[in-house]
Amino acid sequence: MTAEQIKETLYKVAGEVLEKLAFIFSFPEEEREPMDYSDAVIARVSFTGPFKGTLLMAVSKEALPEIAGNMLGLEDNSDAAAEQQYDALKELINVICGNLLPAIAGKQTVFNVEAPHIISSDEMMNSRGAGQPSSAAKLDMDDGQCDLMLYIEN
């Protein structure tokens, strides 16, 4: 799969998961600047298998209560506690990663996906210091933005 195909797959999988799991519509905004990660909640999940790597997902802090509220089925989105919001983001990145890897490498492959973690923006910058991501997606949502970065180690 080419780099361009991986990027298209990342956009497709992320959009579908946000819509089906969180009932959030997102729109690719390839040309916009990266988010302000100091104003985002960031999750990271690592994986091993035919290739190993890491997926990072950053979501605007103002967008996360609605995402968590939708996933939990809350009437009032502000009722989602911070821990529930983090749990919602971890579940989203877990499902995106779980769907992305076989879409890239094929359904016969076996990957081990580690438990997702919430990380600070500093930790994220350290991850990014390892080099440019193999693929990235920038999505806009009604109440914020979402950036995804896929790092594949050779």
Binding site: E16, V17, K20, L21, A68, M71, L72, G73, Q84, D87, A88, K90, E91, N94, V95, C97, G98, N99, L101, P102, A103, K107, Q108, T109, V110, F111, V113, A115
Partner: protein, 133 residues
């Protein structure tokens, strides 16, 4: 017949989503129990009458596959229907689960898929008589 359900997933949000889907499904639910990993799930099974187990695969302490293995070794739990809801995409792993008699639902899922899978697994019939349409 009211169905007593055990939901095993390390994500509280996912357990809530599955429970919400079950409540929307029109299935005759009885007691619902929750556990955050396979070992907690087995503890719940030891203490409660459960008619259906819905479990994730990747969990800390004891994963879903190990929990199913343990269930299959005990006469009290070996025949309980199991639905695995996971992001797992490997056909090899899915085939192993099918051989253990588990039905599989891929995340992200729809409430209708959960309803229909449980109906088929438990022989409840009535595909269009209410629920989340």
């Amino acid at each position: 017949m009211a169905i007593n359900v055990l939901i095993v997933d390390d994500s509280g949000v996912m357990r809530a989503m599955i429970l919400k889907s079950l409540n929307m499904s029109g299935l005759p639910l009885g007691d619902t129990h929750q556990a955050a990993n396979g070992q907690e799930g087995l503890d719940v099974l030891n203490q409660n009458w459960v008619d259906l187990v819905i479990a994730d695969i990747n969990m800390p302490v004891m994963n879903g596959e190990e929990m199913i293995e343990c269930m299959k070794q005990k006469p009290e739990t070996k025949d309980i229907p199991i639905v695995v809801i996971s992001t797992e995409g490997s056909e090899k792993r899915l085939e192993r689960l099918r051989q253990k008699g588990a039905a599989f639902i891929h995340k992200p899922f729809s409430p209708e898929l959960i309803r229909d899978t449980i109906r088929n697994l438990m022989g409840l019939g009535g595909a269009d008589d209410g629920g989340a349409d």
